[in-house]
């Protein structure tokens, strides 16, 4: 998962260095003076590079706050296109793809926290982030749509499951960011993603394998009128 990023850094050390310097200068200035009061000229002056260099790396002032999303989205798309994953349960695969995005945030907690502060304060950045999140969600939905092709409500299921996975991921990510980056975000996200996976997955991975075990019969008795989610929860508990 980290291979493409490492090899990209290896390919062009100086290019990557200039890009990193622009990001660092921008974040520092946005936090010092505010996003609106900082110009692209201020950023290139602080980074010690020419104005044209900025626009070679970033299409806009907003995009410098999300320098890692383009790469993460590309790696996620490659991961989802990998035929090795076609054997895996589609929902579990999509949860794994969401874990890749989390890994990006967890790789640089200080940067992620600075960005979190900025996106909460600057509406333009929040909107930009929404558009980025939407791109991840669309990639997950496209993958699921292909996997659910021919299935009743396949398109609906693809859209709802991808939205649920993204919402669970973002819920966990936000609580980690709100805590100031305390602890391991992977654990919080694990719990949230597992909740969604158990709801929509076609597989019950905790079920015992083998012919004999598969012949086991599970009996659930519930009063008529029991909410379905509670029945599903009981089934899950009985199986694990």
């Amino acid at each position: 998962m980290s291979t493409p990023a490492s090899s990209a850094a290896g390919r062009g050390e100086s290019r990557s260095g200039m890009r990193d310097a622009l990001v660092a200068a921008a974040i520092t200035l946005f936090e010092e003076r505010g996003f609106d009061a900082t110009t692209v000229d201020d950023i290139v002056a602080r980074a010690g590079v020419g104005r044209r260099s900025f626009f070679r790396y970033f299409p806009s002032k907003e995009s410098v706050v999300f320098p890692d999303h383009e790469g993460a989205l590309r790696r996620m798309s490659e991961f989802l296109a990998d035929e090795a994953g076609f054997e895996q349960d589609p929902v579990a695969r999509v949860c794994d793809a969401a874990r890749m995005v989390l890994a990006m945030y967890a790789a640089d907690p200080a940067f992620s926290l600075a960005r979190y502060r900025l996106t909460r304060e600057v509406p333009a950045l929040r909107t930009h982030e929404l558009a980025e999140v939407r791109r991840y969600e669309s990639a997950l939905a496209a993958f699921l749509r292909a996997r659910y092709a021919g299935r009743a409500d396949g398109g609906l299921r693809a859209d709802v499951v991808s939205a649920a996975v993204v919402a669970a991921h973002n819920h966990a990510l936000r609580s980690w960011l709100r805590s100031g980056g305390q602890g391991d975000p992977a654990e919080v996200v694990e719990h949230a993603l597992e909740w969604v996976r158990a709801t929509y997955s076609d597989e019950v991975p905790s079920a015992p394998r083998g012919a004999e075990a598969e012949e086991d019969v599970l009996v659930v008795v519930a009063r008529r009128g029991t909410p379905m989610w509670r029945v599903a929860q009981q089934v899950q508990e009985a199986l694990s």
Copy 2:
């Protein structure tokens, strides 16, 4: 649901008339010349009003394409705050709130279709729409968070359910818009929302009421390893 809008129109016929004229002029020009090539000056000239009038009604050129969202969001918030709904199952209530947004689109199919064409072509409008959708989703999530207070994973459940409801609504709305506004969008949305409601609701509305019926016992027998969604589906079928 339509009362607040009607009374607003009644309060200031001419104000509402000027606002409508600006929207109509803007949409016509955006479709004729393109969004980027149309200025606010072009819009006010076509509508026959002063430049300042535009900014009295709309903060930006983008927002004129979404003139009804502010009102729909206000009506949705009022609906969710209404104590009469506190007796209702929270997920069913949130689905009803989503139906209010659909009613806004269905009320003026020609305008909704023109907007759909524009948002597909103009990235700035697509991003603006994402931000609007996010506001609906946040309102639904805040409502659910309050209703799920004290419940295990209440915050996670609130975020995931509201995202699932919005995704289901948008999936159905998009297929209606893609069809060119054929038929009744309410029917398509009904099916999509019911799918989400059945997954997350605390209630099984089709269960028989009354003391005797509640004593009924439901027995589910499944082979160990049966996917949970299939168990849930069978439970639902057995209950209805």
